[in-house]
Amino acid sequence: MIKRKLMLGNEAIALGLMENGCTMATSYPGTPASEILASFAALQKEESMPRHVQWAVNEKVAFEIAYAGSMSGLRTAVSMKQVGLNVASDSLMSAAYLGVTGGFVVISADDPGPHSSQTEQDSRLMAMMAKIPVLDPDSPMQAREMVATAFELSETFEIPVMLRPTTRVCHARQDIQPGNIQWHPREIDFQKDPARWAATPKFRFHLHQALEKKLDAIASYPKTAPVRLNVGADASKAVIVSGVAAGHAKEIMKDLNLWDRIPMYQVLQPFPLHGDFVSHMIDTYDEILVVEETTGIIEMQLADRHRIKGKLTRSVPRVGELLPETVEKIISEFAGVDPVEIDGASDPGVRPTLCAGCPHRAAFFAIKKAAPKGIYPSDIGCYTLGLNLGAVDTVLCMGAAVSQAAGFYHAFKNEKKPPDIVATIGDSTFFHAGVPALIDAVVQKVSFVLVILDNRTTAMTGNQPTPAVGMGAVGESLNSVEIEALVEGCGVKFCRVEDPYNLNEFISLLKDAVKYSREHGPAVVISRHPCLIDRLRKEKPAHQPVKVEVSDECDGCGFCVDHFECPALVLNEAADQVDIDPILCNGCGVCICVCPKNSIKEKGKDHSENTK
């Protein structure tokens, strides 16, 4: 017997894809989904079979690449986080009509909480809107099994199938029996059929009819039917659970001694809900509690409203993650047992911050110097944490920094003294959704400075390569697209590159850019310095760490702590001085230029040198 292996939910999903003959996997990174493709790539590295594994420039592109693979008869998958599915939704809605040839699985990871997302949206609602089936795993183990089911379902009905794990599945670990990955070669065959693959509106009507027929059949597909968990129990009340809430509820029902009393059902396929199941529930029980995340999808498909308790009746919270303590309370109330009241955390804990020595921090500090009264639209990435520095005013969604900057410009342009606008966007985010917005800004002569925070990676999600890196998901070498060329190609006439570690030069460049933008429209400054924790980086860093020390001139004014907030700078109130934490300090040396009193210096250097 092969030994059980500790596996992250996302690794288990990747294993499921491999075991079931997935030969094309694409993705754009996003928490909590990122490790799915990374794990698939790691498995691919161990073999040499001709699979295609790629980080795409965004979710829409990722979706369409994998979809074309399926149209050619291959088993393919695309993975992303829930808000990424918004970006790919255009393709999803249409692909549902056209259907698939090879099995096609769309993995959209939800984030109830939210822990690391802009919204708590429920991807199952997207499946419902697109009219495709969705599977809702409760654990890494079940997620792996559901991949097999998803491919089967997809091929049986020629339809894209969604797998919807949540953070607690993706980022849970379980001991899992490793599988036997076999290579099942398939014949590649794209059958030309313009009436289908390029259907005009008239044919779309017929495709829509066909889709509805598929859904009816899927709603009685035996393999995805709801499961009765505790066969003996018999009562006039029943509980329906799905996803991670099912995992919580199983433990809780046992702990509350309800396991033998109240019947419990687990829904595996929340949409379309099995018709027989709906009839059975309504015919059998007077009261039914539904516990699911995050929207009441199962609940809204159960016809008899009077018997259902759930989100719509506010018996289950509509907002936030369903923590096991919450599920315990809901089930206790439903079963008429005294709920246990427990005080949770009152201490909010430590807020996240940019790493000590992160190049973004220097860039933000410089932006505030160059445009002190500016408006600062920003975007999604580590640099969202520029919030702590007061250099991030808005964060909407991927790429919005550029278009929001334009919006602010148009809103204020008739004012006597419109504010300067300095937007920040990461390199990966710029490629993902910033480019069309920049083209628009050039055409509209928008006066603003765009600072592209180019740290040569997608840092927040675990350092996936960007199109500028020239490296693929499995580490293979690829072509690269340079940001400068892209910016110039968009029609921007002012495009300069500087390392923000050279703080004074960077500030004066930004000032030039601001001045330019007031008269001539968009100016772009590329703030280039590699992310400190980028594991992909093999070459030695060009920057030599600077040993910094605080001299006696420091009077503990706290300017550097408040305005630069490097975690390695710690105000020692007792000594009226700032201390440098030697464990955290990464030796960027930027604080030397930040201290207004020149009391942070390079160790062992003649101090007069640093005073400009």
Binding site: R168, H171, A172, Q174, E328, P352, L354, T384, M460, P567
Partner: protein, 191 residues
């Protein structure tokens, strides 16, 4: 024995301290012992220096999360972790905390403290606070609390040897850190 094993442990700290690594080591040790294991971790934005929390459940469980007042033990890599995440502990649970001040021991719910930051400096491995606290935890729980932990010091050592196979220097350092914490219990003479 295997069938009846059920232990729930909370591990807390801040991003960059290696909470996930400690969680993994314990989970691997559980598998080595033949137990099932279920963990839940913090990823993403919070990992940038924010509060990081892991749940570890050894035995047969279906939920990845621990409910308040259900944990058997807590490892706090930051002193504040005890007040912040203490609500997870059962009334008679143990806690091992990294903090400068000496031990507060209450016989009902024992709390053991070790200056893991200081020890890490002493052994010239500033980033080994996590392993020092882990070693210390195994030390106290096995010696002062009649083996209340599902795994032993030797188990953890074996897991490290497997995980860091081929990385001689890293393995040596990791074992030094684990031992430093383990032996600290005796030095403090808490028995």
């Amino acid at each position: 024995m295997i069938g009846s094993m059920k232990q729930q442990i909370v591990i807390s700290g801040v991003g960059g301290q290696g909470v996930l690594f400690v969680t993994r080591l314990l989970a691997e040790a559980a598998i080595m012992r033949g137990f099932s294991v279920f963990t839940s971790e913090t990823h993403g934005m919070a990992q940038r220096g924010g509060t990081v929390l892991s749940h570890l459940k050894v035995g047969n469980f279906s939920s990845p999360l621990i409910r308040p007042a259900n944990a058997d033990g807590l490892l706090a890599l930051k002193a504040g972790g005890l007040s912040q995440h203490g609500f997870y502990l059962k009334p008679d649970a143990w806690a091992a905390v990294n903090r400068r001040e000496a031990v507060v021991q209450d016989s009902e719910s024992p709390v053991f403290a070790v200056d893991a930051d200081g020890l890490a400096q002493r052994i010239h491995q500033p980033k080994s606070v996590n392993l020092i606290l882990l070693g210390f935890t195994v030390g106290v729980v096995s010696k002062a609390l009649e083996n209340r932990l599902f795994c032993s010091f030797e188990d953890l050592k074996a897991v490290l040897e497997k995980q860091l196979a081929g990385k001689k220097k890293m393995l040596g350092d990791a074992i030094t850190a684990l031992e430093t914490g383990f032996n600290e219990f005796e030095r403090l003479n808490l028995g």
